[in-house]
Symmetry: C2
Amino acid sequence: MKIVVDAMGGDYAPQSVIKGVVEALKELDVDIALVGLQDKIEAELANHTYSKERLEIIHAPEIVEMKDSATVTLRKKKKSSISVGINLLKDPQYQAFISAGNTGAVVAASTIYLGMIPGVARPGIGLVIPTLKDFSFIIDVGATTDPKAKHLQQWALMAEIYSHVVLGVDNPKVGLLNIGEEASKGTGFAKETHKFMADRLKNFIGNIEANEIFMGTCDCIICDGFAGNIVIKVAQSLMEGAAALLRREIKKSPIALLGAALMKSRLNHIKRHADYSEYGGAPLLGVNGIVMISHGRSSPKAIKNAIRAARGEIEHNIIASIRKEIGE
Amino acid sequence: MKIVVDAMGGDYAPQSVIKGVVEALKELDVDIALVGLQDKIEAELANHTYSKERLEIIHAPEIVEMKDSATVTLRKKKKSSISVGINLLKDPQYQAFISAGNTGAVVAASTIYLGMIPGVARPGIGLVIPTLKDFSFIIDVGATTDPKAKHLQQWALMAEIYSHVVLGVDNPKVGLLNIGEEASKGTGFAKETHKFMADRLKNFIGNIEANEIFMGTCDCIICDGFAGNIVIKVAQSLMEGAAALLRREIKKSPIALLGAALMKSRLNHIKRHADYSEYGGAPLLGVNGIVMISHGRSSPKAIKNAIRAARGEIEHNIIASIRKEIGE
């Protein structure tokens, strides 16, 4: 099993990516192909010891910047680590692609170079999120702007399959993110989507409101990429903000500092549960290949866990499962 | 100054509402008109001591339930506390209306009975939210489904005025909630709205992403009611969820329990800063009268602070300010 990793993607590339890859080689039964500027990759690898026969370096001379538009990337940077890496998936020995780089570019390049799974018209980025109960899966968190109701139905079907096949959830419950519980509530788009979902999904529990997302009310939460992006960005910033506020307040009092020290092990337990890097990357579903998008600020651990998640998708043959269930 | 309060609105009505009203009468220089079932109001008031000449009871025989649709309310419950209370504002001695009841019904009744301020086509619910810096103002959090770009421009102008006139912010910075910083990013709707806002607003700082909302990056955050509702519901549930998680973890270890006890005063400081009830209700802007919507789960303190906030709007003559600035 060989997984392609974009060495140049993310705010701390290539250091953070390569450190994560080296850790993955130690802990996981995978081979890796690192794509990017060969000299930079080699220079960074010189700082590490790793199993050389399990790591391939593939040179890609161009780099997609975070600010580059998806169109520019596709037209003018055909030899970027993203384009070269995704194109590798056409060769069956390369089974998944991971990047912490420009999300729009990864989505566009995956769609163009790999094509879509028949029956899926638009890609969606899914994300495993921690909840008070355990975890849930939310899709789309930002792949497709201005989707149609039909697309959300397709994402819902894929979410159901992903939850069951990859995450091991039996009969995952699926909810539509909306601003009211009744089918008659919300925007025109939400009402139309509700009908599409009720038509086709086995375990559709109807609308769920945003305050239920992190309660673990349902296993799969379906929404458009605008709403999903807001959900995860508010959640992430609030958790970081709350932690910063806690640190600031604690520092104001020596007694509180002592209290915090005594609470440390339990606070760390919560931190681990809430930490996105524990859950690996975000699968780009709908394209005809396994693509995983990691957070731009991915730590080595986040990269390693994204590799672990991609490995799970390969083992469970997620693409074949989606083809079978959704195929038209 | 007399403020009308819906005695029947909210999950804990009329007890919680009346307790809040009694506290307001003690602390604030206002008179109150309580609208609802006279016998229930009187029975509850019998448990309190208060200045009787400053409290008027106005009987309204019908109650709007949380599940009632706005249309049903307007057509079939013309004598509800919401309808009767809002209609009172046509008499100049009654200067504001507050309800913790059915939001959709309050929005619909306000729009129909009070009409809109000239130049504003749709109402928006604003909300003061705590941030890492201090506080910000977000609009709309759920009054209008499927707004047009032009409506967001109007809400932005009102938010600017509200921040300046009522909240005392000099030259409030206004941002558009979107999923990318550049004007070219986001949905078609977001791009169109960006143009409308750039056209007319003095201190438009452009798009802001959801992770910046609670950082205090800008004073006014403008979004459609679907997105705004998601922002506040995710935020509220996460803060409650984090607190529940913290309590659960702390209980697992006696040492952590001791630590928490030592941290209590600092934790309470954060809790107060994050507590929605500290910030009063949510002003319904655009309608031709001062209407404040309180959370369905409003505590007496939340009701009292909503009365305080309505009092601020009356003192600063917010309606006249909006008329003057936005009038066409």
